[in-house]
């Protein structure tokens, strides 16, 4: 099984600015980069800045003399680039004095495609919960708690009398169901 997301041809197309490849690149790394930066405790508005900087540096690297040496390790290169961009951003932030908070509302602008994906995903999640409830109500309850009380997993474990390993297995099963529930006609 080919586990690699990228190959030499992909890197060439990306470097040449092929629109479909550039679009795939941006979409592919959207979630991983956000999750990585959230894990570092960055603010949502800062995350967007760091992601843009990361993309800029990645494309600079693509066009540099060295280019990308190993296409199979392109993702790791993006990861490292993002780490450096985040460190640089955090260093600059520490040096500046914030005068006022810049809390922003969500834009509320959601294109039609995203709305459809969202609707379809909601249906899939409901089916996962329903399916788990049929098999074992406790599992559905645990998953519900995980969705809501995501931060206090020890309390969830105590409440349901399970261990952390059980949570991992439960999430694994839920993800399998979630993937199996994919039905393009739903949207």
């Amino acid at each position: 099984m080919d586990l690699f997301s990228f190959d030499d041809a992909y890197i060439r197309r990306l470097r040449d600015g092929d629109p479909a490849t550039v679009g795939h690149y941006v979409e592919y790394f959207k979630v991983p980069l956000k999750m990585k930066l959230r894990r570092r405790g960055m603010r949502p508005e800062d995350i967007e800045d760091v992601i843009q900087t990361t993309h800029l540096k990645v494309f600079q690297q693509l066009h540099s003399a060295g280019g990308v040496r190993d296409s199979h390790a392109f993702g790791a290169m993006v990861h490292t680039t993002c780490t450096h961009a985040a460190q640089e951003f955090e260093r600059k932030r520490r040096e500046t004095v914030e005068l006022e908070p810049d809390d922003n509302f969500d834009s509320g602008d959601e294109d039609v495609l995203r709305k459809l994906i969202r609707k379809e995903t909601r249906l899939r999640v409901r089916r996962v919960l329903q399916s788990m409830a049929k098999e074992d109500k406790r599992d559905a309850d645990i998953l519900t708690d995980l969705f809501i009380s995501e931060l206090d997993k020890d309390a969830i474990c105590r409440k349901h009398g399970v261990g952390r390993d059980y949570l991992r297995v439960l999430v694994h099963r839920a993800l399998k169901k979630f993937e199996d529930e994919y039905d393009p006609d739903d949207s």
Partner: protein, 231 residues
Amino acid sequence: MNHDEAHYQAHEKAIANLTAESYLLGDLSDAEAEAFEKHYFDCRVCSDTIRAGAAMFAIGREVVVDPIPEPQPIPAPAPVPAPLPFRKIAPRWMALAASAMLAFLAGTQSPLFQTATAALPVMEIAIPVGTIDSVMRGLEDEKIDVRFERDQSIEIVITTTQRFPKYRMVLTDESKKVLKSSDLTPKQALREDGFAVLLRALPAGRYFLALQGVRKDGNPQHIVGKAIVVQ
């Protein structure tokens, strides 16, 4: 061992140990998470799993918090508190949050809140929210859509490692006008089980509730925020 061999080995290990699931649950140490990220950024299978998991958790919270409404009898107005719908999920929440709620409400009883709630039955609903450093939090800042027929409590747990001498809850309206602001001591804000704010009924509109850390120099730093849409 070359990179490709290392990649396959890392993948097999990740599958055997359910590392993607641990990552989604926030169970990995920083070093473990970094190592897994370096793998899954290149891994077609693991990155698909992470994307699916992130979407499932983000939407799952929305589905659970805002399920499809089922027909229910209209409750008769009564001055006594109604049953807590989320009590089953967070039984310890109310007692722990009471003092924090009072702290937030004290001294800032605006006419807006008072008049809006005067004729309404009191019901307190715990809506736990995530924090920005939780990987399970999902892809976007989810909005809380509220049909403000009653008071709303919002539970907040701080898990960032950065500490501040003071914390501040700020409620702003769409024009970013501050409607309410209340300071919290670190002891109140950093409770292990979190704390909660109680919002009185608000007129329809968009609001933003933010928790800020107040630095020694007095400047606030955003910690976590939640858009609230009152319908």
